[in-house]
């Protein structure tokens, strides 16, 4: 069982357990990145603009944005994922257009080299907020603001609390290559926390060999709360959507995408 914060347990000490999830998601990054490019065009991000993708995982968006002509900096807590991102970027011929750095979202402004800022857009994707506390979330959103130019945007893509209320699945079973992840998820309605336990297994024939069990606890927000958080951090919300396709948001949207301008 984890001794430190779950993010350290999962992304640092047992990064190999979560890596197959990143690798499985890599393929769908192609379409998602095209959606992001459409969003950038709609919100005035220049075609060769500077993009900060944090956290970036193994760079499934960042490397592809680089191949579209953007200049990209990707930041992730996990040295393993950053190493894999660099490898994939090099394989794609984007090694010189995508910079990858190990760092903590709460200290982004210390992590990103000064000469790379300011950015035209920053990305916080795949529910990468709510890991610590509401105050920490405001701090993270302020960190993006210090790195994005006035008039630049922040794109937030995050699970929708309202969807959880209506569609919560208490247990799930997912296969990622040779890994199986069995989750037990509880929605703590009082504090709006997901209190999950993810068991990671490696398949050995018909057996499941345990790799690690990680308690994953994170805050979930409704759209109006996310807007308030962004405003507290100095952002002005300009677009709210029910996903990457920029459909209207609803309580049934699995994830929300929010565009805020500095």
């Amino acid at each position: 069982m984890a001794s430190g914060h779950w993010t350290e347990e999962l992304f640092l000490r047992h990064s190999e357990a979560f890596l197959p999830i990143h690798e499985t998601a890599w393929a769908r990054g192609e379409e998602e990145t095209r959606d992001l490019r459409a969003l950038f065009a709609r919100f005035g991000v220049p075609p060769s603009g500077r993009i900060l993708d944090a956290p970036c995982g193994i760079g499934r968006h960042a490397t592809r944005l680089a191949s579209m002509g953007f200049r990209v900096v990707g930041v992730d807590l996990s040295p393993a994922y950053i190493a894999r991102a660099k490898q994939l970027a090099t394989e794609s011929g984007m090694g010189d257009r995508a910079m990858y750095i190990v760092g903590d979202l709460r200290r982004l402004s210390e992590t990103v080299p000064k000469e790379e800022a300011p950015f035209d857009a920053a990305l916080n994707l795949w529910t990468s907020l709510g890991y610590y506390s509401e105050e920490a979330d405001v701090l993270v959103l302020e960190e993006y603001a210090t790195l994005v130019r006035p008039g630049g945007i922040l794109v937030l893509f995050i699970v929708n609390r309202d969807h959880i209320v209506r569609h919560h699945e208490p247990q799930s079973y997912e296969v990622y290559g040779d890994f199986v992840v069995i989750s037990q998820e509880r929605f703590d309605i009082a504090g709006s926390w997901m209190r999950n336990e993810w068991r990671f297994f490696r398949r050995r024939g018909d057996d499941l060999e345990h790799v690690v069990t990680v308690p994953i606890t994170h805050r979930v927000y409704s759209l109006h709360e996310l807007i308030r958080l962004l405003e507290r951090a100095g952002w002005r919300v300009e677009g709210t959507f029910g996903g990457m396709k920029m459909d209207p948001p609803s309580v049934d949207s699995r994830a929300l995408m929010i565009v805020a301008r500095r």
Partner: protein, 240 residues
């Protein structure tokens, strides 16, 4: 861990249900199918003479071994195919017939009507059938593809797929033994259950010679709502 309660772990609730229905502890019970016989054992402890029947011979053998000496006079287990009720004289009747764990919907509708008709012959004139079945509306509106249950050191993974056109709920189970945190595969099984709404069940019972007197949303006798996973009904023989 907040795993779903195991579906067989409802013996106490059933005893309470029978009492709430005005069924006294001495009332005789036919429990078919009885599974591994856990409920039958609890009902016998509660004072009921019980005959419990299931097609699974291994389960029945194990159930027999668990019966304490003092309960043997009033608890009989028998292994028999679904359509057979062994050791019962044609006229042998019971005050209550329990048919639980979605005993219908294993085959076609005629199969169900045949099974329910056979049960009618073994009910006293004032006897009751207590039948439970999964709510089609609940399953259709909550297509949960996976659940796991932990029973002792066995972890059961259940994979679910519901086809709204045929009404078939396909269930697959993998059984693992927990060895530390590892899961060692032991066996698997699967079943197709045909789910039908309550009014169709009532209609099948009518054809089989029963008259439904109550539908409940579970053993707590709450009303049937779309949020209830299991529906429990009580029926009487339609002998005018």
């Amino acid at each position: 861990m907040g795993a779903e309660p195991h579906p067989v772990d409802d013996s106490e609730a059933i005893v309470a249900f029978l009492r709430a229905e005005g069924i006294p502890s001495g009332a005789s019970i036919l429990d078919v199918p009885c599974g591994i016989g856990r409920r039958a054992l609890r009902l016998a402890k509660a004072g009921h003479p019980v005959v419990a029947v299931d097609p699974n011979e291994i389960g029945i053998d194990a159930a027999r071994r668990r019966v304490p000496e003092d309960l043997r006079p009033r608890l009989t287990y028998a292994a028999a195919p679904r359509m057979g009720l062994p050791n019962l004289a044609p006229g042998e009747t019971f005050d209550v017939i329990l048919s639980l764990d979605h005993s219908i919907g294993r085959g076609g509708e005629e199969d169900d009507v045949g099974f329910l008709t056979r049960l009618t012959a073994h009910a006293t004139d004032a006897g009751r059938l207590v039948l439970d079945f999964l709510s089609r509306d609940y399953i259709a509106s909550r297509p949960r593809p996976f659940a796991f249950h932990v029973i002792g050191n066995i972890e059961r993974h259940e994979f679910r797929r519901f086809d709204p056109v045929s009404g078939i709920l396909h269930l697959e189970w993998n059984f693992y033994e927990r060895t530390g945190d590892d899961l060692t595969f032991r066996t698997n099984s699967s079943v197709d259950l045909r789910l039908v709404p309550p009014h169709v069940v009532a209609w099948m019972l009518e054809r089989a010679g029963w008259r439904v007197s109550a539908f409940y949303g579970g053993w707590d006798r709450a009303p049937v709502t779309e949020g209830r996973r299991k529906i429990v009904l009580v029926a009487h023989p339609a002998r005018d």
